[in-house]
């Protein structure tokens, strides 16, 4: 992320309330993750310790420190989705993308395919529980996901069997 873009983001948060998480959130939304150089630049501009920003970036699930693929698939693993078969959906997606569920060292579930086309992640609830199981791809929500309709949904994003 270049400096003017970062400055513009920082300028949008004048009030101290919600400032740090808001700025980090915008960086995450724009870049898909929080680049190391950006975090360092931010520490300097805001005059806060890098360790504080690093603590924030690793504590909150919304932030990722590793680059993501072209498309991010997030499977909801909330209660209603679980009860309606979300684990099976996750497993099916792992199979379709050729990646294995990673009990990551940092507790954040996020795996990217080798060709960097897709990243698979989980979320705790999008609040669309009535249409469980739910998944989100690049900000678009899909309800009533089944193993059968997954290929069509993924196909919209260039997935091929």
């Amino acid at each position: 992320m270049d400096e003017p873009t970062l400055d513009a983001i920082i300028a949008r948060y004048e009030a101290p309330s919600g400032r740090l998480l808001g700025i980090l959130g915008e960086i995450q939304d724009q870049e898909g993750y929080i680049p190391r150089e950006t975090l360092g630049m931010l520490a300097e501009k805001l005059d806060v310790r890098l360790s504080q920003l690093y603590s924030l970036a690793t504590f909150y699930s919304y932030f990722s420190l590793t680059p993501v693929g072209e498309h991010v698939i997030t499977v909801c693993m909330g209660t209603a989705c679980h009860v309606k078969g979300a684990p099976a959906i996750l497993e099916a997606l792992e199979g379709m993308l050729g990646i294995k569920s990673d009990t990551s060292v940092d507790g954040k579930f996020s795996i990217t395919t080798e060709d960097r086309k897709f990243t698979l992640a989980i979320a705790r609830c999008f609040g669309a529980c009535s249409m469980a199981p739910v998944l989100r791809i690049d900000g678009n929500l899909y309800g009533y996901a089944t193993k059968e309709n997954l290929p069509a949904i993924l196909g919209e994003y260039g997935w091929e069997p």
Binding site: P16, S17, L21, Y60, A80, V83, R124, C125, Y142
Partner: protein, 563 residues
Amino acid sequence: MKITSAADLETVRQAGLQKLQPVKPRIAVGLATCGIAVGGSRVYERLREIIKRDGLDIILTKTGCIGYCKEEPLVNITIPNKPLVILHKVTEADAEEIIKLVQKGKVPADKALCRVPSWDHVTGCILEYGKGFTKIPLYGKVPFFKGQQKVILRDAGLINPEDIDEYIAVGGYKAAIKALTGKDSETVIKEVEKSGLRGRGGAGFPTGLKWRITRDAKAEKKYIICNADEGDPGAYMNRNEMESDPHMLIEGMIIGAYAMGAPDGLIYIRAEYPLAIKRLKLAIGQAREYGLLGNNIFGTNFSFDIGIATGAGAFVCGESTALVASIEGRTGRPHPRPPRLTDIGGGLFGYPTDLNNVETWCNVPVIIINGSDWYARIGSKDNTGTKVFSLVGKVDRVGLVEVPLGTTLNTIVSDIGNGGANNKKVKAVQTGGPSGGCIPFRLFDTPMDFENLNKAGSIMGSGGIVVMDEDTDMVDIARFFINFATGESCGKCIPCREGLKHSLLLLNRILAKKGTKKDIETLALLSDTIVATSLCGLGQTAPNPVLTTLAYFREEYDALVKP
């Protein structure tokens, strides 16, 4: 223009009514997150294309969600002098037919869910739509809606949440003007106290009392915060409240800020709710334009404004001290109390702070408009008012259900929800999210109120009700919740951080059929210690799913281990 008097408000109200009940046909597409997730946007786009293509004089607009999520996408048709009709399971392919019929003053009968001849918006405003369409069932006769009492969801799915004029049209901001220009803070607080309103986030703390304590704290500055983190998976009432009727939250906060003397309010909202964030920002902007937020509201010397702070994926930030830490730019690790949020030195940036859930705030305008007596007559003595519950999982009719507190689980799950989906038998429900417990079918005569749910071993929580059927493995459910809690634990104190981790290992072993009776005993002992020694509510309640499934479904655990 700025609204500075009741007369100004009335002028805007009339303009808003023109939009809600125009002289030409109006089509409103349900575009809350759930409607969009099943194709609502495509329906909207297709209708817009056709209207443009044929140059038609039809108003197309957005609305929120009336709560019958199972039947989404939902579309409202308002034909002048005819009842409002709600269409269900609408697809793009239906668009042409809908437009054709609407032009003739008709509606597609096969897509009609129900008709609404008139609607009471609970703020002293009853909208008359008209007579006709008698073959379409009445709204009040639809089994899902029949047992409900809409107070919080009075506007959801009917008005356009992106237009403040429509909120004002149905009585919006009347309560705010009444409080700010006609009452003093003591009167307002007394009204809220008498109403018996209790926190809708789950703790059930008397709201009026919390307001009084905050008001009485002697500090140069105070804050009020709305907890819109809604972290319980399976609960989405707050999301709908914000996406479908954001102004009732803003109005509630204006009244509260006035009563407590707080010039600044914040809405802490989870990052996973982008549409709610967008609609709230829009609503705040529109309120500012009318002078309902900002300096000298209604020409009084009360100034107040609302900011938005986003969360970032941490369930623990629903806990009040962690929430405040998050807004301050720190990690969401709770701190022990004292000091409490309302104490000097305990709240946001050290200032006394009142924190209330979205739905608690949304109750305030109706209490002020209709009075505490009216409100206290709903529900039961210590559990007044209504509650919006999200009825999800293996139930037939999935959606948002609003009923008076004290309504039994049977009424909600079996009557309104029509029991198990796909003709399966309902086995249990989980209430209160990950902090709650599982209640077996035989205890479904339990009234849904704070005390009775505690007695059953669960809690009200924010109102999520997840239904489980005969195929659900209750030990797997216990493991699901412990897995969730382990992932969401902040890690500060050892009973939660390590205790939950080892509980998960035990449950995994038991579910893999490698566990023993001793493992079950250890799990129970560990759960008790986690409850008794954890620093905050997350740890103190995380073992509840284990404790309730052990109490009510012990046989499922025993079946997995060697005798």
